[in-house]
């Protein structure tokens, strides 16, 4: 009996040593691959996931934050001054409207005060319309239609129906402004306007602002298969916009978004076709020509960074990542879930690119 135990012990020692060695190698390999990317990213001055802002796609223009927090605090005057200052810069006007509309959809006491003080203010009317549309989408929640309760669906439709009057009022008070019509695209999406109505709405918008980024973004959502169109309609819409727009208008983003919205493959083969490479190149040229202060430029850069990374053009990808790092509330990351998930996904793709770029830079 004792002899048998001794033989077993002698046999066990080398087995144990071998197992420990294997575990060590495995752990080393595991941590190396995990750490390598974030180290490389850190070396480039890029921020870790927990320091990424998940509410915005880029820093706000100077002075905006004050107006927004005043509105949150119940004071409408800075917001009114901001919209007055922006004037007919339709890109900035629609951007500011979406931010203020969000706040008023949560709580609208400040907006009611604004409306009471200046009854026919077109800016207040615009925020009113936008906030009701946002409220409708808040009521609906982000779930798929089949997971939306009847109460939610009814609230959604009620608020959207009400918003149509408010949109018409805002448009009447400021006939040159495309923003009320851009807002209406989200009503068209929710209530399911027929394509003929959507085309009429689109004519109103392009007559006022032919190459408007947010207008194209919203309309592309309408034409997507998940809403009221199809992959073909969405792609055709995006290609036409990109082809006809002057360089620097950023509309080259939309063929990329149309592809992204309808891409159901699990690998990156579909993202590396010559067609996709050409789309990314067009986007790079567009971004290089654009006004550096264009409020939507970072959104195009996020898309470019993503597809450059998938196409293994890592140095170019890192260049874009560097320009937008710190703010990640943009496509494609936002479809990955809420705040922390978005930042984590962004950092995963970015770090992989950073590591690959570092490996290329120092040939072994």
């Amino acid at each position: 009996m004792t002899v048998l135990l001794w033989i077993l012990a002698v046999l066990a020692v080398p087995t144990l040593i071998f197992a420990l060695w294997m575990a060590g190698v495995f752990l080393k390999e595991f941590f190396k691959s995990g750490d390598g990317g974030s180290e490389a990213a850190e070396k480039l001055g890029l921020l870790p996931a927990e320091r990424q802002n998940t509410d915005l796609a880029a820093p706000l223009p100077a002075g905006w934050e004050a107006a927004l927090s005043a509105a949150r605090g119940g004071d409408w005057k800075p917001a009114a001054a901001l919209l007055e200052y922006i004037g007919r810069d339709w890109e900035r006007r629609s951007y500011a409207t979406s931010l203020l509309g969000d706040i008023a959809a949560e709580e609208d006491a400040w907006l009611l005060a604004w409306e009471a003080a200046r009854p026919d203010d077109p800016d207040a009317a615009l925020i009113r319309a936008r906030s009701t549309v946002d409220l409708a989408w808040n009521l609906r929640g982000a779930a798929l239609a089949k997971h939306t309760t009847r109460e939610q669906a009814e609230g959604f439709h009620r608020a959207l129906a009400r918003s149509r009057e408010e949109i018409a009022r805002a448009a009447a008070l400021n006939p040159y402004d495309p923003t009320p019509f851009i807002t209406e695209i989200w009503v068209a999406l929710g209530l399911g306007y027929p394509h003929s109505e959507m085309d009429k709405l689109w004519a109103e918008i392009t007559a006022r602002a032919p190459y408007h980024y947010e207008a194209h973004y919203s309309a592309l959502q309408y034409w997507c298969a998940k809403w009221r169109g199809s992959k073909e309609l969405a792609t055709a819409f995006a290609e036409r916009a990109a082809a006809t727009a002057p360089l620097g208008s950023l509309l080259t983003a939309f063929p990329l978004i149309a592809h992204f919205e309808h891409d159901e493959s699990s690998d990156s083969t579909a993202d590396r076709t010559p067609e996709m490479v050409a789309r990314v190149d067009a986007g790079l040229a567009d971004a290089a020509t654009a006004d550096p202060a264009h409020p939507r430029l970072p959104e195009l850069r996020h898309l470019l960074a993503y597809y450059l990374a998938l196409q293994d053009r890592d140095e170019a990808a890192i260049e874009q990542f560097k320009l937008v790092d710190g703010y990640v509330d943009a496509l494609p990351w936002t479809y990955q879930g809420d705040g922390p998930d978005v930042a984590a996904y962004y950092c995963r793709i970015r770090n992989a690119s950073a590591e690959a770029a570092a490996a290329q830079a120092q040939p072994s």
């Binding site: 959809a105 949560e106 709580e107 609208d108 808040n138 009521l139 929640g141 309760t149 609230g155 009620r158």
Partner: protein, 553 residues
């Protein structure tokens, strides 16, 4: 397997239902005998005790298996001297289908026609027959259609393809009744509770007259065990005999088409589901409308009003006739899906009898009005019969709505009473609104998860529809209490309310003044629940009661 063999197998199964207890007892006895022969004495004793305990429920089960008596449905017996035409028609149909006529005709209060037979010897021998005819059915069908319905019922006794099939159908009825009887007893507690809750439901009240003594012997566990065994076997037997039974139904339809004509038979099959639904609706919305106010429709109108509603809603009914159920109502239902039955009948060649006997079947009765009054006395419970009769339907509606509004108890009432620790009145609610506390009050309403977790505008948007509806009814209740509301009765559509101010120019409801008042009313309610609430328009619509004036102004 031919139809005869199938029917034979079915009969064996049905007989087995009756033999089940004997078989169970035999198994227990066999176990005892085996113990005596093979086991040591100590074990024998135990086996005996166990088998005795097991035998008790079996023996009890055998006694409970006795055919429940056909208590008969409540109704009015129609004598041959009183209703000669109906009797002649029924007799003629019996002759034509080659079976014996009924010994009794009973007028009932439902949309149904049935021939029942107090079968003897475990459902194997025929007995006295009774024909049940629902007055609402007579109201809705033409004479030719009624013939088709009765001929179909007779068809069950004439045997279609094989004599045995008729036996199968009879046996199935017996099993179904026995199982129902088991359940009735085992579930008596549940049924009692339900009866209490449905106190105002007309059907319960109508059934109340024949309410059986509740036999508490059936409440025990052993009883339930036996019930489970018999139910399981009964279901098996029903399932196995289903194809025979369905073939029987088709055969009965063929008999009906032969005797009453193809078109009348198809039309009757189409009409019956529509009539059932319409009658259900009639009971709910018209006949029993006044029960909470302890008021009955005018004498004879509890059943008499159905004809008027059918006439007024002819178009709706036409739509219901075309959508037929394509699924059987239960897996054990002997009736094939209605759509399939109608399809088979309508596939027959045209017999050119589409224009026979188009008059209402109600005309077969000597005096339909008297029969309706008599039926009322026969099927309504004494409690309901003690209620007062309204002068006319308009009077019934007025009383019913006044009572309903006076006894209002909505979630908003309860939340308001909790919040203010005072009786929930319109005035206390308006005070809460004026104090800007209505959204705090709203948090005390029963809310969905989404609404409860929402904040700010989204929360208000979620609860506003509920608040609007509750506030509207509260205002209506207040107006009703002051006698300021007028209701308009209609056979064709839902009752409409006329608000004060809608009658300024003479009182026709459909003019501009009526819609104007409705708009003012809706706008006033909306204003009271707006983000900047204003209760003034609502207060203007509902002048405060005299004793309230001091506290409010």
């Amino acid at each position: 397997m031919g139809p005869t063999l199938r029917a034979l197998r079915a009969l064996v199964l049905l007989a087995g239902f009756q033999l089940l207890s004997l078989v169970l007892l035999a198994v227990l006895l066999a176990a005892d005998w085996a113990a005596v022969v093979w086991a040591p004495a100590s074990i024998t004793l135990k086996v005996w005790i166990v088998s005795a305990v097991l035998a008790i429920p079996v023996v009890r089960g055998m006694f409970m298996l006795r055919t429940p008596k056909d208590e008969g449905q409540p109704g009015v017996r129609l004598s041959e001297s009183g209703e000669p035409r109906l009797w002649a028609l029924v007799r003629g149909l019996a002759d034509a289908s080659g079976t014996r006529g009924p010994d009794e005709i009973v007028l009932t209060g439902d949309v149904n026609a049935a021939v029942s037979e107090r079968a003897r010897l475990l459902g194997l021998l025929p007995g006295p027959r009774r024909l049940y005819l629902g007055l609402p059915l007579l109201t809705g069908l033409s004479e030719a259609q009624l013939k088709a319905v009765i001929a179909h019922e007779y068809g069950h006794f004439t045997g279609g393809d094989t004599r045995l099939a008729a036996l199968v159908v009879r046996g199935r009825v017996q099993i179904t009744r026995t199982i129902a009887h088991f359940h009735e007893k085992a579930d008596s507690k549940v049924a009692k509770e339900r009866a209490r809750q449905e106190k105002s439901a007309a059907k319960r009240l109508a059934k109340g007259k024949s309410a059986k003594e509740i036999n508490t012997a059936g409440a025990g566990v052993t009883y339930r065990m036996m019930a489970a065994v018999y139910t399981a076997y009964g279901k098996l037997a029903l399932r196995a005999t289903l194809s025979t039974a369905r073939a029987q139904e088709y055969a009965a339809d063929v008999t009906a088409a032969r005797i009453a004509g193809r078109d009348a038979t198809a039309a009757a099959l189409r009409d019956i589901p529509a009539l059932s639904a319409a009658h259900e609706f009639y009971l709910e919305s018209y006949a029993t409308l006044g029960l909470p106010a302890r008021t009955l429709p005018p004498r004879g109108e509890f059943f008499g009003g159905f004809a008027r509603m059918l006439t007024a809603r002819e178009l709706e009914l036409a739509g219901m006739r075309t959508d037929l159920p394509t699924e059987p109502s239960s897996p054990y239902d002997s009736h094939p899906p209605m759509a399939e039955r109608v399809r088979r009948i309508e596939a027959f060649s045209d017999d050119a009898r589409a224009h026979e006997d188009k008059g209402s079947a109600l005309a077969l009765l000597t005096d339909p009005g008297t029969s309706a009054t008599a039926l009322e006395q026969a099927v309504l419970t004494d409690e309901v019969l003690a209620f007062a009769h309204a002068a006319d339907w308009q009077d019934l509606l007025d009383k019913a709505m006044a009572a309903r509004l006076a006894g209002l108890d909505t979630p908003l009432h309860r939340a308001l009473a909790l919040y203010t620790k005072a009786p929930a009145t319109l005035w206390s609610l308006l005070q809460v609104i004026d104090d800007g506390q209505v959204w705090q009050l709203a948090k005390r309403l029963p809310l969905s998860d989404e609404a409860a977790s929402a904040t700010g505008r989204a929360f208000r948007e979620f609860v506003r529809p509920l608040l609007m509806k509750s506030l509207e009814t509260m205002v209506l209740a207040e107006l009703s209490a002051r006698g300021l509301l007028r209701w308009e009765f209609s056979w064709a559509e839902a009752a409409t309310v006329h608000l004060p101010g809608s009658d300024v120019d003479g009182g026709t409801g459909a003019d501009g003044a009526g819609t104007d008042a409705a708009h003012r009313f809706t706008a006033a309610v909306a204003a009271a629940l707006a983000d900047h609430p204003d209760t003034a328009p609502l207060r203007a619509l509902t002048p405060p009661a005299p004793h309230e004036t001091d506290t409010l102004r």
